[in-house]
Subunit: 392 residues, 2 copies
């Protein structure tokens, strides 16, 4: 398809949720995300695709029987990390609608139902648990537990959704024949315009609660302090060192401090560890090493550490036969792994799943500097249309 | 006076602004602080003391000529650090009203005007600059600059005050004969119920802006990162080490992260250094050493650091003759320095100033665990009444 056609549809959503600095704040089920969900319904209407949701906040626009057997799904998510990029997620939804336009223009008659899907809360940017929508749909999380997750203002997911989530879709394995998620690549691994995913690194989030003694920053002698900020700072550096030593990735990028006042030694510093590795054993060893070093330092600081796993995802190997088939179909497109989590990874446990990646020229993501060339995006739509034509 | 009388008046304000966890959130000119300011006016009314303000948000309740020559001031502040203690500040105001009751009961006729004062924004907990009210009153800060200071919601001090601050009081040196601020002691330096201050350590706040490259925490290779959280963490530990080496105090207790998401390497980490020492040369050398180490580490992390002094206060030596006189009057009460800043320290540059300290059994302050024995507080009122009787 032409770059111009892609750019025209892209322009409809480009400004939604963009804030100063050029990044996006699109929290699930909040302001801009609600606008994008309305846009989704309008796009479906324009194409005579009825929209239903699954009771978990995930939207489905149907070409063919709703919830029919062996349906092929394609899509991604609208929500962003705070001040994230605009392509991470929405590219897969915009490309899905455009691929359907191509299939119809070519006179394709799908042999199975086809649905465009918008998963809710993929980033965990609002309620803290990534891939919440796909976890609910596939039964990977208890609906009551999901309903109780809170955002920064104390609003629960259940309140934002307006209901307790419905939970897993009955007969999911027979209803869904395949899922293909198109996504911007998030590293510098892809030299071609389009690639096919092989696997997702195991990854997870661990919350570290460092507790000490709140006191006056001016008057408390250094020797009398029990300052949890010191233990946190040491753990940040330890996580970085351990990841480098083991060839894994570790990041402590989020922190909350109580009371977070310049002149008050904190009573609590809460930091989150994001850890990922090529295999689960390496990731587990990394988290264990960081936890041990945090505890050792806490002993010296007179503080305490409690570590809670908030979400841990095992390694995902996408359907190898499907990936090989799609690569061949796409003129031997490169097959590559990723260390980013995706809804496709969650569903791959139950549904034959594949991902297409569109080239990321700088490799930057989760940042306002994320970008994609619209010529590559148009080639991504072409590839997705060929894949959907083959699968339906 | 009896402990019971003290406790009865104390009980009137004890619950105002107290939050779960037992600490107080009393931000200047916001909810609970406005209630406390109304309480101040009511207390003054009960005692037939007319209340005026100085156009800067500081309240004065007068016994004798308003703004008359050689007035003796006593009081403190209502505002707290977030989740701070209840005694830091309000103890001085409650004690001032009770001391006046004692003087009147004893038939004392003051020879000069006497005023109870409530200074605004002493902690800098809302607008970031400590002792804002006393700085304005004494001309230590430009009123336009003070008016433009913003809180976390973007509200300016001028908006909260409802006007541009009036700035320095004309003829301040002749209008005010003395200031006596009673305050809870904030370390473990005072073994007697009541002591007299000798000096305040030089102290200040420096903002460190660490900037890097925002990117995806999962996909960005460790070697490709420019993560400002690492530079921040190193600086936290460096500040602690440098303070221990030099016998000074250094704390990094407040941090802001952009975007502060678990799965996004930050583009910005902003941390505040609170540094204090027995002399200015030691404090300056400490800040210089921390800044150098932060810059060295930034070079290795591929990040940048910008350091901004937000407020720096030189050493304060309170009027030595006055301190000696008050100590003698109070049965040789101990004379001790403090490393906490106070409005009395700001005004001491222009007005003969003294501070009385009430014993702190645990030494904890700026924390919900701050406490005082009401028997000691009653002795504090007695001491303040003797001092005011002597000075007026």
């Amino acid at each position: 398809m032409s770059k111009k056609v892609f750019s025209a549809l892209w322009a409809e959503i480009e400004a939604i949720g963009r804030v100063s600095g050029g990044g996006y704040i699109r929290y699930a089920l909040d302001g801009p995300d609600l606008v994008l969900r309305d846009w989704f319904r309008n796009q479906a209407d324009r194409r005579d695709m009825p929209v239903t949701d699954d009771g978990n906040g995930n939207l489905f626009a149907w070409w063919g029987d709703q919830w029919g057997r062996g349906a092929v799904l394609t899509g991604s998510h609208f929500d962003s990390v705070p001040h994230g990029g605009g392509y991470d997620g929405p590219l897969g939804i915009v490309s899905a609608f455009l691929a359907i336009d191509q299939l119809r223009a070519a006179g394709h008659q799908p042999s199975t139902p086809l649905a465009v899907v918008a998963f809710v809360e993929e980033e965990g940017g609002r309620f803290g648990l990534p891939c919440l929508g796909s976890r609910l749909l596939s039964g990977a999380i208890d609906p009551a537990k999901a309903a109780a997750l809170t955002d920064r203002d104390g609003i629960t997911f259940g309140e934002a959704l307006g209901a307790t989530p419905a939970g897993p879709l009955p007969g999911l394995k027979s209803r869904f024949g395949a899922l293909v998620e198109l996504h911007i690549e998030q590293g510098r691994q892809l030299a071609e315009p389009v690639g096919v995913a092989s696997a997702i690194w195991p990854h997870g989030r661990w919350r570290f609660d460092f507790t000490g003694h709140g006191d006056h920053a001016g008057t408390t002698k250094m020797a009398d302090r029990r300052d949890p900020m010191l233990t946190f700072a040491y753990t940040v550096l330890a996580a970085n060192k351990e990841a480098r030593l083991s060839g894994a990735h570790a990041t402590m990028a989020r922190v909350e401090v109580e009371p977070n006042a310049t002149n008050a030694i904190p009573s609590l510093v809460r930091g989150w560890l994001d850890a990922r590795a090529a295999d689960t054993a390496t990731m587990d060893a990394l988290v264990e090493a960081v936890t041990k070093r945090a505890n050792d330092r806490a002993g010296r600081d007179g503080t305490d550490v409690r570590v809670t796993a908030e979400s841990v995802s095992d390694e995902v190997t996408f359907d190898t036969a499907l990936a090989t088939r799609l690569s061949a179909l796409l003129d031997d497109a490169p097959i590559l792994p990723t260390s980013a989590g995706h809804d496709a990874g969650v569903l791959s446990a139950q549904v034959p799943t594949a991902m297409l990646f569109v080239r990321n020229p700088t490799g930057i993501s989760h940042s306002p500097a994320e970008s994609a060339d619209h010529a590559d995006c148009a080639l991504g739509v072409d590839a997705l249309a060929r894949v959907l034509s083959e699968l339906t």
